[in-house]
Assembly symmetry: C2
Homo-oligomer: 210 residues x 2
């Protein structure tokens, strides 16, 4: 088994934290997206989509998409459970995952990829057609991401963890999202005291450094 | 139990098809998003997020996010299985779900909500801040959605169903995505013969009419 990874990128980090929580070690290969290594022939031979993370199984089977890789390991090694134990918890975790993805990560990525010179003409991830940046989309992303932080502040004032009473994959997504938000200048400590305290508490978990 | 629904919208339809495949009936209440009923006080009292679908359980618990609601029912009634039986299938279905969501539905929604007068100043879903439309994003959405159809054409030339040898929730997402694509003028039958044939085959399933 081999995990194609990128230390700085948010989606690969979700997988690393997830594996650390499970206590699973997988050999990793670094791919530098900012330098375009994910679109070079060597990596496209591994995964023609040009996305990271990608997990290659011993029989050569390829799995990509961060949360799909996490679900693979959850099924292989169910404990500690991170995706939910009963119908209601499973649904709540999934709902929070989607909100973090669509309202948080997605908007931050829009703000980031539509404004940084490194992503000129490839504002959409992966090996698709050339995609020019849209400055208004960077602005919209920032506006909506700020709204997401406000919402998460309110949520964590009412709940110790994102999806409820215990740590789950939704917390992994949220911590990665908060750190990613700093890339576009959004900091929990600016006006979000509960979120900032929660972020500090999460930093105390060894997995967060993964 | 009560499901707040909208007949025309793609995400509620995913839940309806899923329930039909499971043979589960839930009383439904129609909410017209185009008329803005989702943002009216009566509906915001049900779900302050102003999104549809929303499931209200008998004890008043609220669940939203289409796929979270589907997972709730999958856990309550596991058969017929639609989210995968073993680690590899679970991961494959999740990966396809994400691609359909991020490369398909999301881009079609971008093309749609950033171009239609009905969504002027609310180009992002739900009860967030006013969001002006971005014409270039509608264009980009259309370009990337076309690429998604090409990709799905290739996939279905190699596999009888989206995630492999059998019908799963990924097929539900794909069929909803294909029908949603027509709203922005993208038709499977234009240059995607395999996809068009698959779409016809899916129409023969009674659940598809849900």
């Amino acid at each position: 088994m081999k995990l194609y990874d990128m230390a700085l990128a948010p989606n690969p980090r979700r997988v690393r934290i997830f594996l650390a929580e499970k206590g699973i070690e997988v050999p990793r290969v670094e791919v530098d997206i900012q330098k375009g290594e994910n679109l070079a022939p060597a990596y496209l031979a591994v995964n023609p989509r040009g996305v990271v993370p990608t997990l290659v199984l011993d029989d050569g089977t390829i799995l990509d998409e961060s949360i799909a890789i996490c679900r693979y390991f959850e099924a292989l090694q169910p404990e500690p459970n991170l995706f939910g134990r009963d119908a209601l918890e499973i649904a709540r975790i999934e709902a929070w995952q989607r909100r973090i993805e669509f309202e948080g990560l997605f908007n931050i990525a829009a703000a980031f990829r539509n404004s940084r010179p490194a992503f000129a003409n490839r504002a959409a991830p992966g090996a698709g057609p050339p995609t020019p940046q849209i400055p208004e989309l960077a602005e919209r992303g920032l506006l909506l991401a700020r709204g997401f932080l406000d919402m998460l502040e309110a949520r964590l004032a009412a709940s110790p963890f994102v999806a409820g009473e215990r740590y789950t994959v939704a917390d992994i997504s949220a911590i990665v999202c908060l750190d990613f938000a700093r890339w576009v200048g959004l900091k929990a400590e600016d006006g979000h005291p509960t979120l900032a305290a929660w972020q500090q508490a999460m930093k105390a978990r060894p997995s967060t450094a993964a």
